[in-house]
Symmetry: C2
């Protein structure tokens, strides 16, 4: 999937991503990098609203998991089960969110998925502002077989 | 603050709340109840997007803390430090978020705030769909004195 295709998919299927003006810079099963401008995501302090920051990080985490499943030929519904978000620095401009899977977790995930038709995987996403880590999200997803 | 005044404040200062079409049903220092329709918050499964659900719950938590500080006459900046969100049920219609403070935490918060000019407080917010608990958010906020 190209960055443009992921952008279209997100904007078409998750209208909040369009309202946030989310753009896709990288889109592969190995790494997803998203960004969002400040204006539609601002709060009363002139910084990025925490809900927008967490949502951007969640979209990156969801996307990399989605692309990894697609690349592996796994037809499934991907459901978010739990997230935690830590806010480290205020973001006063364009924020980016970078997510990648931990390859070490993948074999266990696959084994459980093929045995039970569902399995959970934890994905980490980093919020970046001007090259610094501005936040960290951990998302626990459950993939449920479509078969 | 009336529900209408809180709605106007949120829509004016956090454009994402307007994009989500957040409405305010109750707004007091004791309890805040918000709701959001499905359409602007939908995902590819036809249910409420996890980012919208968590943001609605965060807005309720932020609002009740904001109103409590205002009622107590405390001039401060309220900053989100950490959140965790648990998703329990899919939401296929209007979602509500209900937040209230734990009164037992308030005296300690006040004491620390007056001594150090800043203090943190944890707020719980419940996501509701058709009267059932569909999710739970815990938010840790830091209030920083404007003085």
């Amino acid at each position: 999937m190209t960055p443009e295709a992921l952008r279209t998919y997100l904007h078409d299927h998750i209208p909040l991503s369009r309202a946030m003006a989310v753009e896709v810079l990288e889109a592969s099963a190995a790494h997803v990098l998203l960004e969002a401008p400040l204006e539609p995501n601002i709060n009363m302090h002139g910084t990025m609203f925490g809900g927008s920051a967490a949502t951007l990080a969640l979209l990156a985490a969801w996307s990399v998991m989605h692309l990894k499943l697609e690349t592996a030929g796994i037809a499934s519904q991907l459901v978010i089960h739990r997230t935690s978000m830590e806010y480290l620095l205020p973001t006063t401009g364009i924020a980016q969110a970078s997510a990648q899977l931990n390859d070490a977790d993948w074999p266990n995930f696959l084994q459980t998925f093929h045995r039970r038709g569902r399995a959970r995987l934890t994905v980490h996403s980093e919020l970046l502002f001007e090259g610094q880590t501005a936040g960290r999200l951990t998302g626990e997803f459950v993939a449920i077989s479509d078969a």
